[in-house]
Subunit: 138 residues, 2 copies
DNA sequence: CATAGTTTTTGACAAAGTCCAAAACTCGGT
DNA sequence: ACCGAGTTTTGGACTTTGTCAAAAACTATG
């Protein structure tokens, strides 16, 4: 995130300390959960309510400034990196999440073609596996 | 599901009325939630505890007899149809879920190749969109 | 049919998030 | 620099989905 304050203004969002701090936290900790981010924000500006973290994350997600990812058996995670159509690789045992470019060049599996009359707007891919650390543990 | 009772015996699971009823319910209502299934089971055998529904669904999932799918913003859903590597199409507004065969023949995007040292065991694809009914509503 | 070992039930609990009303803040206009 | 309208933030209660634990009921083997 180049300039959090400018980003907020561009989207007609009043600039508040909480929003700036959450934006910085998401930027510094990609794939963090709301709780992780709350902690990070508190280390930064001292205090923030749980509800505000959710409020801010929801507004930023609605405006398309950040992206929410919600793998099974994990609280929602958030990221900065948007608009480049990447996917995610999630560790089944610890939840560690990494970005992966689409496996096959220009995303053939993302070609949304109609089925059952649905209007498809996105194809989400999650690769499930075990991260190096968890492979060692067992 | 051909023969629920035989299926249970094949997996060394004691046969109980609850398990049979849950199996039948999953079979009759693909992509139903635990709550939906509980209701369906009650219509069938009269009564079942909430916990038992979860117990049974967990055992059946662990044994690979049924599959659990967990789209974002939805409780878990269950299905009968396993082992044919199909994916899902989910309506963002009502949660309606349909099966779709892999978009590109033999699932190129499902080729699990290593990244970040992870050992990948599955690639999950969810197509997001709006179902015909919800397209009309808005 | 007895009994060892599972299942089922009941009720409390946990995690992640939302709802609501009151207090605090942002920012445009003066 | 200050006011005031409108938005955010806060704190607390609440909801949903699911798990834990112990007692009662059941399955299936001998």
């Amino acid at each position: 995130m180049r300039d959090p304050e400018a980003t907020l203004r561009q989207h007609d969002l009043p600039v508040t300390a909480q929003r700036l701090a959450v934006l910085r936290a998401v930027s510094r900790h990609p794939h963090a959960t709301a709780d992780d981010l709350a902690e990070s924000v508190r280390a930064d500006i001292g205090t923030i309510s749980r509800q505000s973290v959710y409020n801010v994350l929801n507004v930023l997600t609605d405006k398309g400034i950040i992206r929410r990812i919600q793998p099974a058996d994990s609280p929602a995670r958030f990221e900065d990196r948007i608009g480049d159509n990447h996917h995610h690789l999630v560790c089944r045992s610890c939840g560690r999440t990494e970005d992966v470019c689409c496996a096959v060049g220009e995303a053939p599996c993302l070609k949304a073609h109609s089925h059952h009359g649905f209007k498809i707007d996105e194809a989400e891919v999650i690769y499930w596996g075990t991260c190096p650390a968890c492979q060692k543990k067992r």
